[in-house]
């Protein structure tokens, strides 16, 4: 948000007439130029984020290839219905966010607040379901660390999820590698959830600002760039869902 104050002082005739909206910074010639520059910067940031998540994805793919049986058994512990519902929540929240950008562009204040609020609610819904999933992992001692339990993998008949997937008992050394699966599971979904928490916090801030009319003056950059961030987080989940939940099911 640009808060540059513009003072129009009587100037010689040939001087540049200093007239532009208050949210346009002095050093930009037009608002469009400012918007493009900010947009470009946001994309550079998102590219660094792609590299960051890319490291985690690469680690996942390599370890999955090495400890294939452990990763299959590990992924059978995740719930596709819960993961699926979360995918739907995020996709719909991306849609409401995109509609929010449209509302800002069309200067519809009420609709913008509604769209941002819906996006916030869907984001919170996602985090709520993620909490349920994490809670189940804690209960079953599937969180890597001192209390990690191999029981579901050494004796699948004792575990509902493993039994439903038709898992066979893993040898001890392979069963221990399920801890690698869950380390990566928590690192990837945890990092994604952190991005969601940051996004939801910014959304709450934006709803207050939107109510004050800050984004319906023609200054859409902030909403637009937050939208880019939110969609990026959605894209990360679009890849996390099949990799963690789906590809070891058949």
């Amino acid at each position: 948000m640009s808060d540059s104050q513009v003072q129009v002082i009587a100037q010689p005739a040939e001087a540049h007439v200093h007239e532009h909206p208050p949210y346009q910074r002095h050093h930009f010639e037009t608002y469009a130029q400012q918007n493009d520059a900010t947009n470009f910067a946001m994309w550079l940031f998102l590219l660094t984020e792609i590299m960051f998540f890319g490291g985690l994805f690469t680690a996942y793919l390599i370890y999955r290839n090495w400890f294939y049986a452990a990763f299959v058994a590990g992924s059978h512990q995740l719930s596709i219905p819960l993961g699926g519902v979360n995918t739907l929540l995020l996709i719909v929240s991306s849609f409401t966010m995109a509609m929010g950008v449209w509302c800002a562009e069309m200067r519809k204040k009420g609709a913008l607040v509604l769209c941002l609020s819906l996006t916030l609610l869907l984001g919170l819904g996602f985090l709520g379901i993620k909490t349920i999933e994490y809670g189940e992992k804690i209960e079953k001692h599937h969180v890597p660390g001192f209390h990690y339990s191999l029981q579901s993998f050494l004796d699948p008949s004792s575990d509902e999820a493993a039994k439903a997937a038709g898992d066979k008992p893993l040898p001890l050394d392979m069963a221990r590698h399920t801890e690698v699966y869950f380390s990566l599971y928590f690192a990837m979904t945890g990092m994604h959830a952190l991005h969601m928490i940051i996004g939801v916090s910014i959304l709450a801030f934006m709803i207050v600002r939107a109510q004050a009319g800050a984004y319906t003056t023609g200054h859409v950059t902030y909403v637009e760039n937050f939208g880019l961030y939110w969609h990026f987080v959605d894209i990360v989940w679009i890849f996390l869902f099949p990799l963690l939940y789906l590809i070891s099911r058949h």
């Binding site: 037009t30 469009a32 947009n39 596709i80 995109a98 449209w102 590809i247």
Partner: protein
Amino acid sequence: MTEHIEKPIDHESPEVHEREHHIVSPKIYVMILLVLLVGTAITVWASYVDLGEWHVAPGLNVFWNPVVALAIACTKATFVVLFFMHVKYGTKLTKLTIGAGVFTFLILVGMTMADYFSRAWGRW
């Protein structure tokens, strides 16, 4: 000096725009939403079907399930980037930057994978 007529800057008017701010219509957003929902349904369904494997070389098999899942994910991500993130209507600079970034990303991942998967070649 050329005569330069200063008009009050109205950023809605195309004269002072290098590029008109393109407003994507809700209709397109709804269509993309439907594409994403259908994509999600297909990827969940496909995960329960055994799509088999492809014997590339002795000892080297490619499972189709993860390939299909990732292909669907890439398609969904492309729709999000092009329409929700307005890249289709963006500047050439933005398009080039994203293209270069994704290309670099694929090189990094591709080279790392090629290294790890070929290190023990023939010894598995």
